[in-house]
């Protein structure tokens, strides 16, 4: 490689990494214009947002706490996208992961902690695996569009949760008190994840998530299975021709993707809530997609990306409380960031193709 080409290559990588940052900047500018039109001072709003998320220890630990499920979901989304399938079903997989983990921990609460804790995580992971695997199977065998089936599966999971939390899983204490707030009994303390900073919600699930990010990187780029997942995602027809059982890998990608979302649900109840509650999925199924995209669908890129989006979510709540700017601003910003990121992809693709042609 000639010297100028190498410089060009490094430059490309830098601009490639800078694009998501530009996308965020663009979204913030559009957001500021919207706020101005609504008569809100955007500087006050953004200052409150960033201060709330990163200005003190409490903000930072909350950011990392929110980043944990985002990273786990983001990893699942990376696997699905790399395998050429789109998993919109994160919400449902999170919910069922959390429900199954809670039911398992409560049901076997007398088991020793060293056994109960990993099995509880496994219960959540398996639930997500099944809930992701079904749309995968429907796509591979029946040709059902996975985007549509996962959307339906989200609604079904939501109703399953509503049913369980108002019936079989309703906290006996709620029944006794007659309040009937739809939540499960508390999980046995043996499955609570260690709090890393005292008196905050920041728990050891964050460490697990980072370890798994590295593991997913190795899975996708250092194993045959990962190579095949990516091959199917890049070109299903060529993969089939090369003898890869494509439909099996479609199911696998979706199932693995669901497994990570299910684990995210399990970790969320074990680390933060210590019981199954309504609304615990908190839109992570969608925000995780945004974080994964922002991290360029790379498992290691998802680590900083989920921290950034975790801080946005925390900052949004703080902003709403301190300067009364609705936190939904951040949902709109997330949407804009996605639009900017996918739109700017064209620029990256065109340039890399031009470079290829120049080389020939």
């Amino acid at each position: 490689m000639a010297a100028h080409e190498r410089t060009q290559f490094t430059l490309d990588r830098i601009t490639g990494a800078a694009l998501p940052v530009l996308a965020v900047a663009g979204a913030l500018v559009v957001g500021a214009l919207l706020l101005l039109m609504l008569g809100v001072n955007p500087f006050t709003a953004y200052a409150a947002l960033f201060n709330g998320a990163l200005g003190n220890v409490s903000g930072i630990t909350q950011t990392l706490t929110k980043a944990t499920p985002l990273l786990l979901v983001g990893l699942g989304i990376c696997i699905a996208f790399r395998g050429g399938v789109i998993n919109i079903g994160g919400e449902g997989q999170i919910i069922l992961g959390a429900v199954s983990a809670s039911a398992f921990a409560i049901g076997f609460s007398h088991w020793p902690g060293w056994l109960l804790l990993p099995l509880t995580m496994l219960a959540g992971t398996l639930a997500g695996l099944v809930w992701g695997g079904i749309p995968g199977w429907l796509k591979a065998r029946m040709g059902v569009n996975e985007i549509l089936s996962t959307v339906m599966m989200n609604q079904i999971a939501l109703q399953v949760m509503n049913f369980l939390l108002r019936g079989p899983m309703l906290d006996p204490a709620q029944i006794a008190a007659g309040t009937n707030i739809p939540q499960s009994a508390a999980l046995p303390e043996a499955v609570w994840l260690t709090r890393l900073v005292p008196r905050t919600l920041f728990h050891s699930g964050a460490i697990l998530a980072v370890i798994l990010a590295v593991a997913v990187y190795f899975l996708l780029w250092r194993t045959t299975i990962g190579y095949r997942i990516r091959a199917v995602g890049l070109n299903a027809a060529a993969s089939r021709y090369a003898g890869i059982p494509v439909s099996r890998y479609v199911v696998l990608s979706m199932a693995l993707s669901g497994a990570f979302c299910g684990l995210a649900g399990a970790v969320e109840v074990m680390g933060v809530h210590h019981r199954m509650i309504e609304g615990m999925s908190g839109g992570y199924g969608f925000s995780g997609i945004v974080a994964a995209l922002f991290g360029k669908l790379h498992p290691l890129g998802a680590i900083p990306a989920s921290a950034i989006f975790g801080s946005l979510l925390v900052g949004a709540d703080k902003m709403q409380r301190s300067v009364q700017v609705p936190s939904s601003l951040v949902v709109a910003l997330q949407g804009l960031i996605v639009l900017f990121v996918v739109a700017s992809d064209l620029y990256v693709r065109r340039r890399s193709r031009r470079r290829m042609e120049e080389r020939e």
Binding site: L34, L38, G39, V40, I86, I88, L138, M142, G143, V144, N145, I147, L148, S149, V151, M152, M153, N154, Q155, I156, Q159, V160, N162, F163, R166, G167, F286, I289, V290, L293, P326, S328, L329, V330, V331, A332, L333, Q334, G335, L336, I337, V338, L339, V342, A343, S344, D345, L346
Partner: protein
């Protein structure tokens, strides 16, 4: 109690609600049919509907004429469609993702606007019932089909209009050509990207009306995320209806009838847990998608951005 479900009055009630509830699905799914027939999967319908619902509600809430409210909702929906066009057609973005972006944008912006401009849940007087003369006097049929607000009739009118435009006009031919074989359409002088922009804008406008049909027609309130995923169902209905207006009508009716049945089951207090009943339409959609999908031909260029060869 189960036999109460099978009295004539109940059955008529279910059919009446079913016909009425199909309205937002019809507008949104017919709009999406235009986009998908031209080869663009717009997954952001729910976000466009929310913006339409808010806009119509805001105009009506401030004393504006209801038709002005609908027009405003159409305008905002068209703008959202235009945005999708810039990202997915001109910038050739992956459509499954750009749609999610559009959805989140509409979801966030509509609740931001709602919280800053209105603040609390209020109601407006939306379109009143318009019993069609003579037709509504028919026994049973009259009540089921001809005793609704005007947006309901318009939704059903859109079915033949959509079918006509797609199948009997030059513009419809261009749409189908662009969705089926963009290279060939291009070589015949049809601008692929312009057709896709137009269908996305039509889809946006209809999604806007779909939103309005909720906020100033069926429910007469606006709440954050009031569509609750309805726009995603509308996208599914297009597949369900195999990209034809009549198929979409069938899907929308099936979906809304099961929904109406589920509501009546709850009203009558039949001992089926309501959560199980609510999930029925979604299970049904998956089942039907599974059973039908093999026999139908989707637009060949669906989800594939078009780039002219050199």
């Amino acid at each position: 109690m189960l036999n109460e479900l099978f009295t004539l009055a109940t059955l008529i009630g279910i059919l009446h609600s079913g016909v009425r509830l199909a309205t937002p699905y019809l507008f949104a799914a017919l709009g999406e049919t235009f986009a998908q027939r031209s080869g663009v999967l717009n997954l952001g319908v729910d976000g466009m509907m929310l913006m339409g619902a808010f806009t119509a509600f805001y105009v009506a809430f401030n004393g504006g004429n209801l038709w002005l409210a609908v027009a405003a909702a159409i305008g905002v929906g068209c703008l959202m469609g235009l945005l999708m066009g810039v990202v997915s057609v001109t910038m050739q973005a992956e459509q499954g993702i750009s749609g999610i972006g559009l959805y989140l944008f509409g979801l966030g912006l509509s609740s931001l606007l709602f919280k800053t401009l209105i603040g609390s849940v209020e109601s407006v007087s939306g379109f009143p019932k318009l019993a069609l003369p003579l037709l509504s006097d028919l026994p049973i049929i009259g009540y089921i089909f001809f005793d609704h607000n005007v947006l309901v009739y318009l939704a059903y009118l859109m079915v033949p209009v959509t079918a006509f435009v797609l199948n009997r006009t030059t513009f419809g031919l261009s749409i189908r050509a662009v969705g089926h074989n963009p290279e060939a359409a291009d070589s015949l002088g049809v601008s692929v990207n312009r057709v896709r922009y137009v269908t996305l804008i039509i889809g946006g406008g209809l999604a806007g009306v779909a939103g309005a049909s909720l906020s100033i027609g069926l429910l007469n309130v606006f709440q954050e995320n009031m569509t609750n995923g309805l726009g995603f169902i509308a996208v599914a209905l297009v597949y369900f209806g195999s990209w034809r207006a009549v198929g979409v009508l069938g899907g929308a009716l099936l979906f809304s009838l099961v929904n109406a049945l589920q509501l009546w089951v709850q009203v009558l207090g039949i001992p089926i847990p309501s959560d199980i009943a609510v999930m029925l339409p979604y299970v049904l959609t998956i089942v039907v998608l599974t059973l039908t999908v093999r026999q139908i031909q989707q637009p060949a260029a669906l989800t594939k951005p078009y780039e002219r060869g050199e």
